[in-house]
Symmetry: C2
Subunit: 429 residues, 2 copies
């Protein structure tokens, strides 16, 4: 889906490269999440990233990477090596590369002072030195830290240096760099929408939407972006006219969602826990859980959302069977006759949690997460999920895989998705 | 900590580079965890990684990266682009680069057939094509998939191509490549030990071990590897004689641990939840929890460990105050007089959970995770943790930060670490 032919631009203006600087990246101490974040952002801003290179904190390596990148691309973004400590060498290296000299930049110092005043801190000499910058650069304001970004131009290429701390880098990119990049003359507009799904893998989704995908207009592409338990579907459109693209994108999105109503739970930066939380709040409904195999993972997911106390009242994790009978009041004969991993027990867990916590809905899970505890009748990955609500209780049997962590994650998402579908249903009727 | 002077080797034998191939990496769809994993492994095998570069699925880009890397380094590892689909171009590209020809490799085919037979699958034409390899390469067996690795030599440089699927790449690296790399003549041995800590940040640790760190022998280095809530301390030693290095490393490790007894919970690939779980099993002791601000995160952490049902019996997440009084039986007057976030309430939660779940130990948490709910007296980040055990109940007050997710994580780790210290204490006495 990613080739030069996707865009019509000629020359190097629409090409970009990323240079990551730092010894810690070259010994595997740190995963280079900055590079993938920047690549994603540059792609969505209409640029084609041709190369990502990581080099050590070393002048010669940085110079060689810059020579290469400037010869090929219109935009070069460097990250790392801008902090106040002795290790950080990017700033003097760039000063030498661009044959500039270091000068005190009043604008940059004012930005640092304002940030410090807001936090009630005192500016020391080390912080003050952050405002000494190569004379030939334009400083880019950093609202989250003391190291400003730097913008240079060289041989028709924009060279930008950003700090390595992810939230500082992202802050400067989004607030200072992106608006400037959007003004550069690149031939095509790029727009996109991400549709979030859970409940089926890539290949199942691909089968269900095959004819829709085959009929996509030439200027649109679909990307499958899997994450544990989720598949994100990103529709990207490219062309000279943003407004007609936007209209077409909305139509395609609606068609896609209509093909996957049981799987789609949200868009772009939504999470399933926040989507379901908002639906519960909108319905003035409350939720509790009773967890066995998920061991508290559903509770932890919901309570990770700020404001979840408005709808979430609590859970009982009944990891031992006598807790299921003792605290959760599941009848002993149900456990004996059907075993803990059964429709009867999981439905009883959900109904009893609903009553104990006095909630409108209750979710319950019971399954064999593994690696031990499987039998030929109920192998590892066998999971029952129940949902008690206004119309009694319903339950689902799932057969997941052999990996404990993934079984817990998939059970958690399946339970939350079961509640999402119930909430959508009850709003419709 | 990472410079040429750290090793004495001359020439390019001890230098390595990583080339990652794939359009998906250049549009930010995928974070390049393979590169950091390989960089870590190569570093620990005694190589100095000079550069990591990501290039598109494109012959010219791959050739240019190979020319560069081979001119500089003794080992070049490529990943990506070896699968059976049309997108994967690494294999034919390497065949052209090394001016070789594609031939059917019987040894590689036998490995694929054996793997398929073991899984009860049938070999199709696409799988068979995986055994067609450049004549000039030595195949490296893949025990987890169908794409073999390939080993070439060129101008005194070893060039190795590995699949992009992480567990296949790791399998071939560890089983096939690493033993061969260890036979290469590089001047120095490298050994290391990672000491795992929780409960203090980098700067606090640095202060406490400053004189120890300053007195480290020349051939040893210390790296701080922070993760959310944890700091890993890696001691690395380098020199010609592995056995004397090993002796010295053990001594340094013991000194370091003696300086941080309250913080060190394990080594290398340990996790705090598995370490504490093993201590509980060894002591034939059981655990329950009562969670408010952690919302099930402690339960989810313990139950992520296989076999945790041997010691962990369950949790009550009392997210609403009337659950604290109703199910957890906390006295209403304690809540009224002291508030939910107080020593009195959290200690009562721990004692009552211990009784309800009939366990030897119980942990309880109550705090203000944020972003809302803070007051001037109890700002966001205020957290009480209690531990009930054989000698009654003890509690700790923590003042964490403003970020909800990090507050939950830090509370969780602090609670587990509180139990770890108690278990270590009770074993000593």
């Amino acid at each position: 889906m990613h080739s030069d032919s996707f865009r019509n631009s000629t020359g190097k203006n629409h090409l970009a490269e990323i240079i990551s600087i730092g010894d810690e990246l070259l010994i595997g101490q740190v995963v280079n999440t900055n590079a993938s974040w920047l690549a994603d952002q540059l792609f969505l801003a209409g640029f084609l990233v041709k190369r990502i290179v990581t080099v050590p904190d070393d002048d010669q390596a940085i110079f060689a990477a810059l020579d290469d990148a400037i010869s090929r691309s219109g935009v070069v973004v460097l990250t790392g090596g801008l902090g106040p400590t002795a290790d950080d060498i990017t700033k003097p290296a760039l000063c030498r590369y661009f044959k500039s000299e270091m000068v005190f930049n009043h604008q940059a110092f004012e930005q640092i002072s304002t940030l410090f005043a807001r936090r009630g801190w005192v500016v020391n000499e080390r912080n003050r030195s952050q405002a000494i910058l190569p004379a030939s650069c334009t400083p880019l304001q950093n609202n989250s830290g003391t190291a400003p970004g730097m913008w240079f131009t060289e041989k028709g290429t924009v060279v930008v240096s950003l700090p390595g701390v992810p939230f500082e880098m992202q802050d400067i990119f989004l607030n200072e760099l992106l608006p400037r990049l959007r003004q550069m003359e690149i031939a095509n507009q790029l727009i996109y929408k991400t549709v979030l799904t859970t409940g089926a893998g890539e290949s199942v989704i691909a089968d269900r939407i095959a004819s829709w995908e085959a009929a996509l207009p030439q200027s649109f592409k679909l990307a499958y972006l899997p994450q544990p338990g989720l598949v994100r579907l990103r529709i990207t459109g490219s062309g000279p006219d943003a407004s007609s693209l936007g209209y077409e994108l909305e139509r395609l999105k609606q068609e896609l969602v209509a093909l996957l109503p049981d799987l789609v739970f949200g868009y772009d930066n939504d999470t399933i826990e926040s989507v379901v939380g908002q639906k519960l709040i909108a319905a003035s409904a409350t939720l509790s859980t009773a967890e066995s195999c998920t061991g508290g993972a559903i509770a932890a997911l919901f309570t990770s959302v700020p404001g979840s106390s408005a709808f979430y009242r609590g859970t009982i994790v009944a990891y031992a069977n006598d807790i299921k009978t003792g605290i959760l009041k599941v009848r002993g004969d149900l456990l004996e006759r059907h075993g803990a991993v059964s429709r009867e027990v999981v439905e009883s867990m959900a109904l009893n949690a609903k009553e104990l916590f006095e909630t409108d809905y209750a979710l319950a899970t019971s399954g064999i997460a593994g690696p031990d505890g499987g039998t030929s009748e109920k192998p590892v990955g066998t999971v029952w999920i129940a949902l008690a609500g206004f119309n009694g209780v319903v339950s689902e049997l799932h057969k997941f895989g052999e990996h404990r962590g993934r079984n817990i994650r998939r059970t958690t998402l399946a339970a939350v998705n079961m509640l999402r579908k119930e909430l959508d249903q009850s709003i419709k009727h």
